[in-house]
Amino acid sequence: MSTEAAVVEEVKEKKAEPLFSKKNKKLISNPLDIDNPVTVQILGVCSALAVTTQMKPAFVMSLGLTIVTACSNVAISALRNTIPSRIRIIVQLAIVSLWVILVDQILKAYVYDVSKQLSVFVGLIITNCIVMGRLEAFAMGNKPWPAFLDGMGNGLGYGMILMILAFIRELFGAGSLFGFKVFASLGLPYQGNGLLLLPAGACILLGSIIWIQRSLNGYRESH
Protein backbone atom coordinates (compact mmCIF):
# COMPACT_ATOMS: atom_id res chain seq x y z
CA MET A 1 0.00 0.00 0.00
CA SER A 2 1.30 3.38 -0.90
CA THR A 3 1.63 5.84 1.90
CA GLU A 4 2.47 8.79 -0.28
CA ALA A 5 -1.22 9.66 -0.26
CA ALA A 6 -0.80 10.71 3.34
CA VAL A 7 1.19 13.72 2.26
CA VAL A 8 -1.13 16.64 2.66
CA GLU A 9 -2.02 18.18 -0.68
CA GLU A 10 -2.94 21.79 -0.22
CA VAL A 11 -5.17 23.64 -2.54
CA LYS A 12 -4.70 27.34 -1.96
CA GLU A 13 -7.93 29.02 -2.68
CA LYS A 14 -8.45 32.52 -3.85
CA LYS A 15 -11.45 34.53 -2.83
CA ALA A 16 -14.72 33.97 -4.70
CA GLU A 17 -13.40 31.10 -6.76
CA PRO A 18 -16.04 29.72 -9.12
CA LEU A 19 -17.57 26.46 -7.95
CA PHE A 20 -16.20 24.55 -10.90
CA SER A 21 -12.90 26.25 -11.46
CA LYS A 22 -10.18 24.48 -13.40
CA LYS A 23 -8.59 23.37 -10.16
CA ASN A 24 -11.84 22.00 -8.81
CA LYS A 25 -12.58 20.14 -12.04
CA LYS A 26 -9.19 18.48 -11.70
CA LEU A 27 -10.25 17.16 -8.29
CA ILE A 28 -12.89 15.11 -10.08
CA SER A 29 -10.98 14.18 -13.21
CA ASN A 30 -7.56 13.30 -11.77
CA PRO A 31 -8.76 10.32 -9.73
CA LEU A 32 -10.38 8.92 -12.87
CA ASP A 33 -7.05 8.55 -14.64
CA ILE A 34 -3.60 9.72 -13.57
CA ASP A 35 -4.33 9.58 -9.84
CA ASN A 36 -6.72 6.66 -9.73
CA PRO A 37 -7.02 5.28 -6.19
CA VAL A 38 -7.06 1.64 -7.32
CA THR A 39 -4.73 1.44 -10.31
CA VAL A 40 -2.21 4.14 -9.40
CA GLN A 41 -2.29 4.40 -5.61
CA ILE A 42 -3.12 0.66 -5.33
CA LEU A 43 -5.63 1.28 -2.55
CA GLY A 44 -8.86 -0.59 -1.89
CA VAL A 45 -7.69 -3.63 -3.86
CA CYS A 46 -9.12 -6.10 -1.36
CA SER A 47 -12.72 -5.08 -1.93
CA ALA A 48 -12.10 -4.53 -5.64
CA LEU A 49 -11.25 -8.23 -5.95
CA ALA A 50 -13.95 -9.45 -3.59
CA VAL A 51 -17.14 -7.79 -4.78
CA THR A 52 -16.65 -7.75 -8.56
CA THR A 53 -17.86 -11.21 -9.58
CA GLN A 54 -21.17 -9.58 -10.57
CA MET A 55 -22.12 -6.13 -11.79
CA LYS A 56 -24.92 -5.51 -9.30
CA PRO A 57 -22.99 -5.77 -6.01
CA ALA A 58 -20.05 -3.96 -7.62
CA PHE A 59 -22.34 -1.09 -8.61
CA VAL A 60 -23.90 -0.86 -5.16
CA MET A 61 -20.46 -1.03 -3.55
CA SER A 62 -19.11 1.80 -5.73
CA LEU A 63 -22.15 3.89 -4.93
CA GLY A 64 -21.80 3.23 -1.22
CA LEU A 65 -18.11 4.08 -1.18
CA THR A 66 -18.62 7.25 -3.20
CA ILE A 67 -21.28 8.48 -0.77
CA VAL A 68 -19.22 7.60 2.27
CA THR A 69 -16.02 9.18 0.94
CA ALA A 70 -17.74 12.38 -0.18
CA CYS A 71 -19.80 12.84 3.01
CA SER A 72 -16.95 11.99 5.39
CA ASN A 73 -14.67 14.33 3.48
CA VAL A 74 -17.15 17.17 3.93
CA ALA A 75 -17.68 16.42 7.64
CA ILE A 76 -13.98 16.15 8.44
CA SER A 77 -13.17 19.19 6.36
CA ALA A 78 -15.74 21.23 8.26
CA LEU A 79 -14.27 20.06 11.58
CA ARG A 80 -10.64 20.17 10.48
CA ASN A 81 -9.63 23.16 12.59
CA THR A 82 -11.19 21.82 15.80
CA ILE A 83 -9.93 18.23 15.70
CA PRO A 84 -6.90 17.80 17.97
CA SER A 85 -4.25 16.25 15.78
CA ARG A 86 -3.34 13.56 18.33
CA ILE A 87 -6.75 11.92 18.23
CA ARG A 88 -7.65 12.74 14.63
CA ILE A 89 -7.66 9.12 13.42
CA ILE A 90 -10.24 8.01 15.97
CA VAL A 91 -12.39 11.06 15.19
CA GLN A 92 -12.17 10.24 11.50
CA LEU A 93 -13.13 6.64 12.18
CA ALA A 94 -16.13 7.69 14.23
CA ILE A 95 -17.39 9.95 11.47
CA VAL A 96 -16.77 7.42 8.71
CA SER A 97 -18.52 4.68 10.66
CA LEU A 98 -21.56 6.92 11.00
CA TRP A 99 -21.90 7.14 7.22
CA VAL A 100 -21.10 3.48 6.73
CA ILE A 101 -23.81 2.43 9.17
CA LEU A 102 -26.28 4.69 7.39
CA VAL A 103 -25.39 3.16 4.01
CA ASP A 104 -25.53 -0.34 5.46
CA GLN A 105 -28.99 0.21 6.97
CA ILE A 106 -30.34 1.66 3.73
CA LEU A 107 -29.00 -1.30 1.77
CA LYS A 108 -30.56 -3.72 4.23
CA ALA A 109 -33.89 -1.93 3.98
CA TYR A 110 -34.13 -1.60 0.20
CA VAL A 111 -31.81 -4.10 -1.52
CA TYR A 112 -31.52 -6.89 1.00
CA ASP A 113 -30.16 -9.52 -1.42
CA VAL A 114 -27.27 -7.28 -2.52
CA SER A 115 -26.59 -6.42 1.09
CA LYS A 116 -26.28 -10.15 1.82
CA GLN A 117 -23.88 -10.59 -1.10
CA LEU A 118 -21.67 -7.71 -0.03
CA SER A 119 -21.67 -9.09 3.53
CA VAL A 120 -18.76 -7.66 5.51
CA PHE A 121 -17.44 -5.49 2.71
CA VAL A 122 -19.88 -2.67 3.41
CA GLY A 123 -18.81 -2.62 7.04
CA LEU A 124 -15.20 -2.74 5.95
CA ILE A 125 -15.58 0.56 4.10
CA ILE A 126 -14.80 2.03 7.54
CA THR A 127 -11.22 0.87 7.24
CA ASN A 128 -11.04 1.24 3.45
CA CYS A 129 -7.69 2.77 2.59
CA ILE A 130 -9.27 5.14 0.06
CA VAL A 131 -11.58 6.73 2.63
CA MET A 132 -8.89 7.07 5.28
CA GLY A 133 -6.37 8.21 2.70
CA ARG A 134 -8.57 10.99 1.37
CA LEU A 135 -9.42 12.21 4.87
CA GLU A 136 -5.77 12.36 5.89
CA ALA A 137 -4.44 13.61 2.58
CA PHE A 138 -7.10 16.06 1.55
CA ALA A 139 -9.97 16.79 3.91
CA MET A 140 -7.70 17.72 6.82
CA GLY A 141 -6.18 20.55 4.79
CA ASN A 142 -8.96 21.85 2.54
CA LYS A 143 -12.34 23.53 2.63
CA PRO A 144 -15.57 21.48 2.49
CA TRP A 145 -16.45 22.12 -1.18
CA PRO A 146 -13.13 20.97 -2.68
CA ALA A 147 -13.14 18.14 -0.14
CA PHE A 148 -16.57 17.07 -1.39
CA LEU A 149 -15.38 17.12 -5.00
CA ASP A 150 -12.26 15.17 -4.06
CA GLY A 151 -14.37 12.56 -2.27
CA MET A 152 -16.69 12.26 -5.26
CA GLY A 153 -13.77 12.00 -7.66
CA ASN A 154 -12.05 9.27 -5.72
CA GLY A 155 -15.28 7.38 -5.19
CA LEU A 156 -15.96 7.55 -8.92
CA GLY A 157 -12.39 6.52 -9.75
CA TYR A 158 -12.78 3.49 -7.51
CA GLY A 159 -16.23 2.79 -8.90
CA MET A 160 -15.00 3.02 -12.47
CA ILE A 161 -12.36 0.34 -11.91
CA LEU A 162 -14.89 -1.81 -10.05
CA MET A 163 -17.35 -1.56 -12.92
CA ILE A 164 -14.70 -2.43 -15.53
CA LEU A 165 -13.61 -5.43 -13.48
CA ALA A 166 -17.15 -6.56 -12.80
CA PHE A 167 -18.14 -6.10 -16.46
CA ILE A 168 -15.35 -8.32 -17.73
CA ARG A 169 -15.67 -10.84 -14.92
CA GLU A 170 -19.42 -11.26 -15.14
CA LEU A 171 -19.58 -11.16 -18.95
CA PHE A 172 -16.76 -13.61 -19.64
CA GLY A 173 -16.94 -15.53 -16.37
CA ALA A 174 -20.65 -16.19 -16.18
CA GLY A 175 -21.86 -14.99 -19.59
CA SER A 176 -24.26 -12.44 -18.10
CA LEU A 177 -24.56 -8.73 -17.25
CA PHE A 178 -26.52 -7.58 -14.17
CA GLY A 179 -27.80 -11.15 -14.06
CA PHE A 180 -29.08 -11.00 -17.66
CA LYS A 181 -27.82 -13.96 -19.68
CA VAL A 182 -26.26 -12.15 -22.64
CA PHE A 183 -24.86 -15.01 -24.69
CA ALA A 184 -27.80 -17.31 -24.01
CA SER A 185 -30.31 -14.69 -25.14
CA LEU A 186 -28.32 -14.10 -28.33
CA GLY A 187 -28.44 -17.83 -28.93
CA LEU A 188 -24.66 -18.20 -28.78
CA PRO A 189 -23.14 -21.11 -26.94
CA TYR A 190 -20.78 -19.78 -24.30
CA GLN A 191 -18.73 -21.60 -21.72
CA GLY A 192 -17.97 -19.48 -18.68
CA ASN A 193 -14.33 -18.91 -17.80
CA GLY A 194 -14.01 -20.16 -14.23
CA LEU A 195 -10.70 -18.42 -13.61
CA LEU A 196 -12.31 -14.97 -13.90
CA LEU A 197 -14.71 -15.83 -11.10
CA LEU A 198 -11.83 -16.58 -8.73
CA PRO A 199 -10.14 -13.72 -6.84
CA ALA A 200 -6.86 -14.78 -8.50
CA GLY A 201 -8.40 -14.08 -11.91
CA ALA A 202 -9.53 -10.65 -10.72
CA CYS A 203 -6.02 -9.91 -9.51
CA ILE A 204 -4.55 -10.79 -12.93
CA LEU A 205 -7.25 -8.73 -14.61
CA LEU A 206 -6.55 -5.73 -12.38
CA GLY A 207 -2.86 -6.09 -13.18
CA SER A 208 -3.67 -6.07 -16.89
CA ILE A 209 -5.79 -2.92 -16.48
CA ILE A 210 -2.87 -1.23 -14.71
CA TRP A 211 -0.55 -2.38 -17.51
CA ILE A 212 -2.84 -0.98 -20.22
CA GLN A 213 -3.45 2.29 -18.34
CA ARG A 214 0.26 2.90 -17.75
CA SER A 215 1.21 2.17 -21.32
CA LEU A 216 -1.49 4.61 -22.47
CA ASN A 217 -0.75 7.55 -20.17
CA GLY A 218 2.98 6.90 -19.68
CA TYR A 219 2.75 6.93 -15.88
CA ARG A 220 5.90 5.71 -14.14
CA GLU A 221 6.37 4.99 -10.46
CA SER A 222 8.78 7.51 -8.95
CA HIS A 223 11.36 6.00 -6.64
Binding site: Q191, N193, G194, L195, L196, A200, G201
Partner: protein
Protein backbone atom coordinates in the same frame (compact mmCIF):
# COMPACT_ATOMS: atom_id res chain seq x y z
CA UNK B 1 18.18 -23.37 -50.52
CA UNK B 2 19.73 -20.96 -52.99
CA UNK B 3 16.23 -19.91 -54.00
CA UNK B 4 15.25 -19.13 -50.40
CA UNK B 5 18.46 -17.19 -49.85
CA UNK B 6 17.81 -15.12 -52.97
CA UNK B 7 14.24 -14.46 -51.94
CA UNK B 8 15.32 -13.28 -48.50
CA UNK B 9 18.10 -11.13 -49.94
CA UNK B 10 15.80 -9.56 -52.49
CA UNK B 11 13.48 -8.21 -49.79
CA UNK B 12 16.19 -7.45 -47.27
CA UNK B 13 16.55 -3.78 -48.18
CA UNK B 14 12.90 -3.14 -47.26
CA UNK B 15 13.61 -4.10 -43.66
CA UNK B 16 16.91 -2.35 -43.20
CA UNK B 17 17.24 1.11 -41.73
CA UNK B 18 15.38 3.54 -43.95
CA UNK B 19 13.43 0.81 -45.71
CA UNK B 20 9.65 0.98 -45.86
CA UNK B 21 9.12 -1.96 -43.46
CA UNK B 22 11.89 -0.89 -41.12
CA UNK B 23 9.88 -1.56 -37.99
CA UNK B 24 9.38 -5.20 -38.93
CA UNK B 25 13.14 -5.77 -39.15
CA UNK B 26 13.20 -8.19 -36.22
CA UNK B 27 10.46 -10.33 -37.72
CA UNK B 28 12.55 -10.57 -40.92
CA UNK B 29 15.68 -11.29 -38.94
CA UNK B 30 13.95 -14.10 -37.04
CA UNK B 31 12.99 -15.85 -40.29
CA UNK B 32 16.42 -15.30 -41.74
CA UNK B 33 18.33 -16.76 -38.81
CA UNK B 34 15.81 -19.56 -38.44
CA UNK B 35 16.59 -20.72 -41.97
CA UNK B 36 20.27 -19.80 -42.29
CA UNK B 37 23.33 -19.42 -40.12
CA UNK B 38 23.71 -15.73 -39.28
CA UNK B 39 26.51 -14.13 -41.30
CA UNK B 40 27.73 -11.98 -38.44
CA UNK B 41 31.21 -12.68 -37.12
CA UNK B 42 32.90 -11.70 -33.88
CA UNK B 43 34.39 -8.23 -33.83
CA UNK B 44 38.08 -7.61 -34.27
CA UNK B 45 38.31 -6.34 -30.72
CA UNK B 46 37.22 -8.30 -27.67
CA UNK B 47 36.19 -11.93 -27.38
CA UNK B 48 36.73 -13.88 -30.59
CA UNK B 49 36.23 -17.50 -29.64
CA UNK B 50 32.79 -18.37 -28.38
CA UNK B 51 30.94 -21.51 -27.40
CA UNK B 52 28.82 -22.82 -30.24
CA UNK B 53 25.85 -23.39 -27.95
CA UNK B 54 23.39 -20.53 -28.02
CA UNK B 55 19.76 -20.18 -27.03
CA UNK B 56 18.52 -21.61 -30.32
CA UNK B 57 20.61 -24.77 -30.02
CA UNK B 58 19.72 -25.16 -26.35
CA UNK B 59 16.03 -24.99 -27.17
CA UNK B 60 16.33 -27.41 -30.08
CA UNK B 61 18.05 -29.94 -27.78
CA UNK B 62 15.08 -29.80 -25.43
CA UNK B 63 12.66 -30.24 -28.35
CA UNK B 64 14.63 -33.29 -29.51
CA UNK B 65 14.51 -34.68 -25.98
CA UNK B 66 10.73 -34.33 -26.06
CA UNK B 67 10.36 -36.25 -29.32
CA UNK B 68 10.28 -39.75 -27.70
CA UNK B 69 7.42 -38.57 -25.49
CA UNK B 70 5.62 -37.00 -28.44
CA UNK B 71 5.95 -39.99 -30.76
CA UNK B 72 4.96 -42.45 -28.06
CA UNK B 73 2.11 -40.14 -27.06
CA UNK B 74 0.76 -40.03 -30.63
CA UNK B 75 0.64 -43.80 -30.77
CA UNK B 76 -0.88 -43.97 -27.28
CA UNK B 77 -3.68 -41.52 -28.13
CA UNK B 78 -4.75 -43.83 -30.95
CA UNK B 79 -4.19 -46.96 -28.88
CA UNK B 80 -6.37 -45.73 -26.01
CA UNK B 81 -9.08 -44.64 -28.42
CA UNK B 82 -9.34 -48.01 -30.12
CA UNK B 83 -9.01 -49.79 -26.77
CA UNK B 84 -11.94 -47.89 -25.28
CA UNK B 85 -14.10 -48.64 -28.32
CA UNK B 86 -12.69 -52.19 -28.49
CA UNK B 87 -11.91 -51.90 -32.18
CA UNK B 88 -9.06 -53.77 -33.81
CA UNK B 89 -6.48 -51.45 -35.34
CA UNK B 90 -2.94 -51.78 -36.65
CA UNK B 91 -0.02 -49.79 -35.30
CA UNK B 92 -0.23 -47.56 -38.38
CA UNK B 93 -3.91 -46.78 -37.82
CA UNK B 94 -3.29 -45.95 -34.17
CA UNK B 95 -0.44 -43.67 -35.16
CA UNK B 96 -2.48 -41.94 -37.82
CA UNK B 97 -5.35 -41.40 -35.40
CA UNK B 98 -2.94 -39.95 -32.85
CA UNK B 99 -1.39 -37.64 -35.45
CA UNK B 100 -4.82 -36.37 -36.46
CA UNK B 101 -5.61 -35.52 -32.85
CA UNK B 102 -2.20 -34.22 -31.77
CA UNK B 103 -0.89 -32.19 -34.70
CA UNK B 104 -3.75 -29.62 -34.65
CA UNK B 105 -3.01 -28.91 -30.98
CA UNK B 106 0.68 -28.42 -31.78
CA UNK B 107 -0.11 -26.15 -34.71
CA UNK B 108 -2.48 -24.00 -32.63
CA UNK B 109 -0.01 -23.76 -29.78
CA UNK B 110 2.89 -22.72 -32.02
CA UNK B 111 0.74 -20.48 -34.20
CA UNK B 112 -0.78 -18.47 -31.38
CA UNK B 113 2.39 -18.30 -29.31
CA UNK B 114 4.69 -17.28 -32.14
CA UNK B 115 2.22 -14.67 -33.40
CA UNK B 116 2.23 -13.04 -29.97
CA UNK B 117 6.03 -13.31 -29.79
CA UNK B 118 6.39 -11.54 -33.15
CA UNK B 119 3.94 -8.81 -32.17
CA UNK B 120 5.76 -8.08 -28.91
CA UNK B 121 9.18 -8.26 -30.57
CA UNK B 122 8.04 -5.71 -33.17
CA UNK B 123 6.50 -3.36 -30.60
CA UNK B 124 9.42 -3.62 -28.22
CA UNK B 125 12.06 -3.64 -30.96
CA UNK B 126 14.05 -6.63 -29.84
CA UNK B 127 15.00 -9.79 -31.71
CA UNK B 128 12.46 -12.61 -31.58
CA UNK B 129 13.62 -15.05 -28.94
CA UNK B 130 13.63 -18.79 -29.38
CA UNK B 131 12.16 -19.48 -25.96
CA UNK B 132 8.80 -20.35 -27.40
CA UNK B 133 10.14 -23.29 -29.41
CA UNK B 134 10.14 -25.39 -26.25
CA UNK B 135 7.03 -23.90 -24.67
CA UNK B 136 5.04 -24.41 -27.85
CA UNK B 137 5.88 -28.11 -27.77
CA UNK B 138 5.41 -28.52 -24.02
CA UNK B 139 1.88 -27.11 -24.06
CA UNK B 140 0.41 -29.84 -26.33
CA UNK B 141 2.22 -32.56 -24.39
CA UNK B 142 0.45 -31.61 -21.14
CA UNK B 143 -3.03 -31.42 -22.69
CA UNK B 144 -5.51 -34.27 -23.04
CA UNK B 145 -6.10 -35.28 -26.67
CA UNK B 146 -9.76 -34.33 -26.32
CA UNK B 147 -9.07 -30.66 -25.47
CA UNK B 148 -10.97 -28.13 -27.66
CA UNK B 149 -8.57 -26.16 -29.87
CA UNK B 150 -9.98 -22.75 -28.90
CA UNK B 151 -9.08 -23.50 -25.30
CA UNK B 152 -5.51 -24.32 -26.34
CA UNK B 153 -5.39 -20.98 -28.17
CA UNK B 154 -6.70 -18.97 -25.20
CA UNK B 155 -4.43 -20.74 -22.72
CA UNK B 156 -1.36 -20.22 -24.91
CA UNK B 157 -2.17 -16.54 -25.38
CA UNK B 158 -2.71 -16.11 -21.64
CA UNK B 159 0.51 -17.88 -20.74
CA UNK B 160 2.66 -15.97 -23.23
CA UNK B 161 1.19 -12.53 -22.44
CA UNK B 162 0.66 -12.75 -18.67
CA UNK B 163 3.24 -15.40 -17.83
CA UNK B 164 6.07 -14.11 -20.00
CA UNK B 165 5.69 -10.78 -21.79
CA UNK B 166 4.30 -8.99 -18.73
CA UNK B 167 7.53 -9.83 -16.95
CA UNK B 168 9.76 -8.73 -19.82
CA UNK B 169 9.95 -11.64 -22.27
CA UNK B 170 12.06 -14.75 -22.63
CA UNK B 171 14.22 -15.48 -19.60
CA UNK B 172 12.37 -13.04 -17.33
CA UNK B 173 9.36 -15.17 -16.44
CA UNK B 174 8.80 -16.14 -12.81
CA UNK B 175 6.77 -19.30 -13.39
CA UNK B 176 6.98 -21.97 -16.06
CA UNK B 177 5.02 -20.82 -19.12
CA UNK B 178 3.71 -24.18 -20.30
CA UNK B 179 2.43 -24.92 -16.80
CA UNK B 180 0.86 -21.46 -16.66
CA UNK B 181 -1.11 -22.41 -19.76
CA UNK B 182 -2.21 -25.67 -18.18
CA UNK B 183 -3.05 -24.05 -14.83
CA UNK B 184 -5.12 -21.46 -16.69
CA UNK B 185 -7.22 -24.17 -18.32
CA UNK B 186 -7.40 -26.08 -15.07
CA UNK B 187 -9.05 -23.17 -13.29
CA UNK B 188 -10.88 -21.60 -16.22
CA UNK B 189 -12.40 -24.64 -17.92
CA UNK B 190 -12.03 -27.49 -15.42
CA UNK B 191 -14.58 -29.74 -17.11
CA UNK B 192 -12.35 -30.26 -20.17
CA UNK B 193 -9.10 -30.95 -18.33
CA UNK B 194 -10.05 -32.90 -15.25
CA UNK B 195 -12.12 -35.97 -14.60
CA UNK B 196 -12.43 -38.67 -17.25
CA UNK B 197 -11.35 -36.71 -20.31
CA UNK B 198 -8.05 -38.39 -21.03
CA UNK B 199 -9.10 -40.77 -23.78
CA UNK B 200 -10.39 -39.29 -27.02
CA UNK B 201 -13.65 -41.09 -27.68
CA UNK B 202 -15.35 -39.01 -30.35
CA UNK B 203 -18.93 -37.77 -30.29
CA UNK B 204 -21.51 -40.38 -29.46
CA UNK B 205 -18.99 -43.20 -29.64
CA UNK B 206 -20.09 -46.36 -27.91
CA UNK B 207 -17.55 -47.55 -25.39
CA UNK B 208 -16.93 -51.15 -24.49
CA UNK B 209 -18.90 -52.68 -21.61
CA UNK B 210 -17.28 -51.98 -18.25
CA UNK B 211 -15.28 -49.06 -19.65
CA UNK B 212 -14.11 -46.41 -17.23
CA UNK B 213 -11.90 -43.44 -17.97
CA UNK B 214 -10.66 -43.11 -14.40
CA UNK B 215 -6.95 -42.39 -14.06
CA UNK B 216 -4.75 -44.23 -11.56
CA UNK B 217 -4.70 -41.16 -9.33
CA UNK B 218 -8.48 -40.87 -9.26
CA UNK B 219 -8.68 -44.60 -8.60
CA UNK B 220 -6.21 -44.37 -5.73
CA UNK B 221 -8.03 -41.39 -4.21
CA UNK B 222 -11.34 -43.26 -4.23
CA UNK B 223 -9.91 -46.54 -3.09
CA UNK B 224 -11.35 -48.03 0.07
CA UNK B 225 -9.25 -51.16 0.29
CA UNK B 226 -5.85 -51.91 -1.18
CA UNK B 227 -4.77 -49.47 -3.88
CA UNK B 228 -2.45 -51.92 -5.63
CA UNK B 229 -5.10 -54.59 -5.95
CA UNK B 230 -7.51 -51.93 -7.24
CA UNK B 231 -4.93 -51.02 -9.87
CA UNK B 232 -4.41 -54.61 -10.89
CA UNK B 233 -8.10 -55.42 -11.14
CA UNK B 234 -8.94 -52.24 -13.08
CA UNK B 235 -9.90 -52.71 -16.68
CA UNK B 236 -10.85 -56.37 -16.30
CA UNK B 237 -12.61 -57.56 -19.42
CA UNK B 238 -11.62 -54.75 -21.78
CA UNK B 239 -8.05 -53.82 -20.90
CA UNK B 240 -6.60 -56.40 -18.54
CA UNK B 241 -3.72 -55.19 -16.41
CA UNK B 242 -3.74 -51.65 -17.83
CA UNK B 243 -2.72 -50.22 -14.46
CA UNK B 244 -0.21 -52.78 -13.30
CA UNK B 245 3.18 -51.35 -12.38
CA UNK B 246 5.15 -52.14 -15.55
CA UNK B 247 2.36 -51.06 -17.83
CA UNK B 248 2.22 -47.70 -16.06
CA UNK B 249 6.00 -47.44 -16.30
CA UNK B 250 5.76 -48.04 -20.06
CA UNK B 251 2.86 -45.60 -20.21
CA UNK B 252 0.25 -47.52 -22.20
CA UNK B 253 -2.57 -45.83 -20.30
CA UNK B 254 -4.84 -42.80 -20.60
CA UNK B 255 -3.39 -39.43 -19.70
CA UNK B 256 -2.10 -36.21 -21.24
CA UNK B 257 -0.59 -36.65 -24.69
CA UNK B 258 3.06 -36.72 -23.70
CA UNK B 259 3.15 -37.54 -20.03
CA UNK B 260 1.94 -41.13 -19.64
CA UNK B 261 5.20 -42.91 -20.25
CA UNK B 262 7.78 -42.76 -17.47
CA UNK B 263 10.21 -44.65 -19.72
CA UNK B 264 10.02 -42.07 -22.55
CA UNK B 265 10.44 -39.24 -20.02
CA UNK B 266 13.55 -40.94 -18.69
CA UNK B 267 14.94 -41.26 -22.23
CA UNK B 268 14.28 -37.54 -22.71
CA UNK B 269 15.89 -36.88 -19.35
CA UNK B 270 18.96 -38.86 -20.41
CA UNK B 271 19.28 -36.73 -23.56
CA UNK B 272 19.04 -33.56 -21.46
CA UNK B 273 21.62 -34.76 -18.96
CA UNK B 274 24.10 -36.06 -21.56
CA UNK B 275 23.97 -32.81 -23.52
CA UNK B 276 24.27 -30.84 -20.28
CA UNK B 277 21.06 -28.91 -20.97
CA UNK B 278 19.03 -30.13 -18.00
CA UNK B 279 20.20 -30.42 -14.42
CA UNK B 280 20.42 -34.04 -13.25
CA UNK B 281 20.27 -32.79 -9.67
CA UNK B 282 16.77 -31.44 -10.10
CA UNK B 283 15.50 -34.56 -11.89
CA UNK B 284 16.95 -36.92 -9.29
CA UNK B 285 15.82 -34.82 -6.35
CA UNK B 286 12.21 -34.56 -7.57
CA UNK B 287 12.04 -38.35 -7.78
CA UNK B 288 13.81 -38.67 -4.43
CA UNK B 289 11.47 -36.17 -2.76
CA UNK B 290 8.36 -37.94 -4.04
CA UNK B 291 9.72 -41.37 -3.12
CA UNK B 292 10.79 -40.21 0.35
CA UNK B 293 7.43 -38.59 1.02
CA UNK B 294 5.72 -41.76 -0.20
CA UNK B 295 7.78 -43.86 2.21
CA UNK B 296 7.00 -41.47 5.05
CA UNK B 297 3.26 -41.67 4.34
CA UNK B 298 3.49 -45.47 4.17
CA UNK B 299 4.92 -45.43 7.67
CA UNK B 300 2.48 -43.02 9.30
CA UNK B 301 -0.62 -42.95 7.07
CA UNK B 302 -3.89 -44.71 7.72
CA UNK B 303 -5.92 -44.21 4.52
CA UNK B 304 -5.61 -46.56 1.52
CA UNK B 305 -3.93 -43.85 -0.58
CA UNK B 306 -1.18 -43.25 1.98
CA UNK B 307 -0.56 -47.00 2.06
CA UNK B 308 0.09 -47.12 -1.70
CA UNK B 309 3.71 -48.34 -2.10
CA UNK B 310 6.01 -45.35 -2.55
CA UNK B 311 7.43 -46.48 -5.91
CA UNK B 312 3.96 -46.28 -7.45
CA UNK B 313 4.06 -42.53 -6.93
CA UNK B 314 6.92 -42.34 -9.46
CA UNK B 315 4.97 -43.91 -12.33
CA UNK B 316 1.41 -42.63 -11.88
CA UNK B 317 0.38 -39.18 -13.07
CA UNK B 318 2.79 -36.71 -14.62
CA UNK B 319 5.58 -36.80 -12.05
CA UNK B 320 8.26 -38.03 -14.47
CA UNK B 321 7.30 -35.57 -17.21
CA UNK B 322 7.21 -32.68 -14.75
CA UNK B 323 10.53 -33.65 -13.19
CA UNK B 324 12.33 -33.96 -16.52
CA UNK B 325 10.88 -31.15 -18.64
CA UNK B 326 9.15 -28.67 -16.34
CA UNK B 327 11.16 -28.56 -13.12
CA UNK B 328 14.47 -28.31 -15.01
CA UNK B 329 13.44 -25.13 -16.86
CA UNK B 330 16.64 -23.09 -16.32
CA UNK B 331 14.77 -19.79 -16.06
CA UNK B 332 12.40 -20.70 -13.25
CA UNK B 333 14.44 -23.27 -11.30
CA UNK B 334 16.94 -22.51 -8.57
CA UNK B 335 20.29 -21.34 -9.89
CA UNK B 336 22.55 -22.45 -7.04
CA UNK B 337 23.71 -26.06 -6.95
CA UNK B 338 22.59 -26.67 -3.35
CA UNK B 339 19.40 -24.80 -4.12
CA UNK B 340 18.60 -27.25 -6.92
CA UNK B 341 18.51 -30.14 -4.46
CA UNK B 342 16.20 -28.28 -2.08
CA UNK B 343 14.02 -27.10 -4.95
CA UNK B 344 13.66 -30.57 -6.45
CA UNK B 345 13.06 -32.38 -3.19
CA UNK B 346 10.35 -29.89 -2.18
CA UNK B 347 8.63 -30.34 -5.56
CA UNK B 348 8.55 -34.09 -4.96
CA UNK B 349 7.24 -33.70 -1.42
CA UNK B 350 4.52 -31.22 -2.37
CA UNK B 351 3.43 -33.34 -5.33
CA UNK B 352 2.75 -36.34 -3.13
CA UNK B 353 1.17 -34.17 -0.42
CA UNK B 354 -1.28 -32.60 -2.87
CA UNK B 355 -2.06 -35.96 -4.48
CA UNK B 356 -2.79 -37.72 -1.23
CA UNK B 357 -4.41 -35.06 0.92
CA UNK B 358 -6.18 -32.66 -1.43
CA UNK B 359 -9.35 -34.18 -2.88
CA UNK B 360 -9.85 -31.19 -5.23
CA UNK B 361 -6.60 -31.79 -7.14
CA UNK B 362 -5.98 -35.40 -8.17
CA UNK B 363 -2.55 -34.55 -9.62
CA UNK B 364 -0.09 -32.38 -7.73
CA UNK B 365 2.97 -32.01 -9.95
CA UNK B 366 1.70 -28.93 -11.82
CA UNK B 367 0.82 -26.98 -8.69
CA UNK B 368 3.95 -28.15 -6.86
CA UNK B 369 6.25 -26.93 -9.65
CA UNK B 370 4.42 -23.60 -9.95
CA UNK B 371 4.66 -23.12 -6.19
CA UNK B 372 8.37 -23.91 -6.08
CA UNK B 373 8.99 -21.66 -9.12
CA UNK B 374 7.81 -18.80 -6.96
CA UNK B 375 10.04 -19.87 -4.08
CA UNK B 376 13.16 -20.62 -6.16
CA UNK B 377 14.67 -17.11 -5.77
CA UNK B 378 14.15 -17.31 -2.01
CA UNK B 379 15.93 -20.69 -1.86
CA UNK B 380 18.81 -19.18 -3.82
CA UNK B 381 18.94 -16.22 -1.47
CA UNK B 382 19.29 -18.41 1.61
CA UNK B 383 21.85 -20.70 -0.05
CA UNK B 384 23.98 -17.68 -0.92
CA UNK B 385 23.60 -16.17 2.55
CA UNK B 386 24.63 -19.47 4.15
CA UNK B 387 27.65 -19.65 1.87
CA UNK B 388 28.65 -16.09 2.76
CA UNK B 389 28.32 -16.83 6.45
CA UNK B 390 30.44 -19.97 6.17
CA UNK B 391 33.19 -18.18 4.30
CA UNK B 392 33.17 -15.22 6.67
CA UNK B 393 33.70 -17.54 9.61
CA UNK B 394 36.66 -19.13 7.86
CA UNK B 395 38.20 -15.80 6.97
CA UNK B 396 40.87 -14.47 9.28
CA UNK B 397 40.89 -10.73 9.48
Amino acid sequence: MKFLRNQLDSVKHYFEKGGKWEKYYFAYEAFDTFLFVPNTTTETKGVQIRDAIDLKRLMMTVVIAMLPCLIFGMWNVGHQHFLALQQVATVGQKFWFGILKTVPIIIVSYGVGLTIEFIFATIRRHPVNEGFLVTGMLIPLVMPASIPLWQVAIATAFAVVIGKEAFGGTGMNVVNIALTARAFLYFAYPSQISGEVWTYLGDGAKTVAGYSGATPLALAAQSTGNVVSDFNSFGAGWADGIYNFWNMFMGVMPGCIGETSTLMCLIGGAILIITGVGSWKIIVSVFAGAFGMGLFLNAVGATPFTQMPAYYHLVVGGLAFGAVFMATDPVTASQTETGKWIYGILIGIFTVLIRVFNPAYPEGIMLAILLMNVFAPLIDYFVIQANKKRRLQRATV
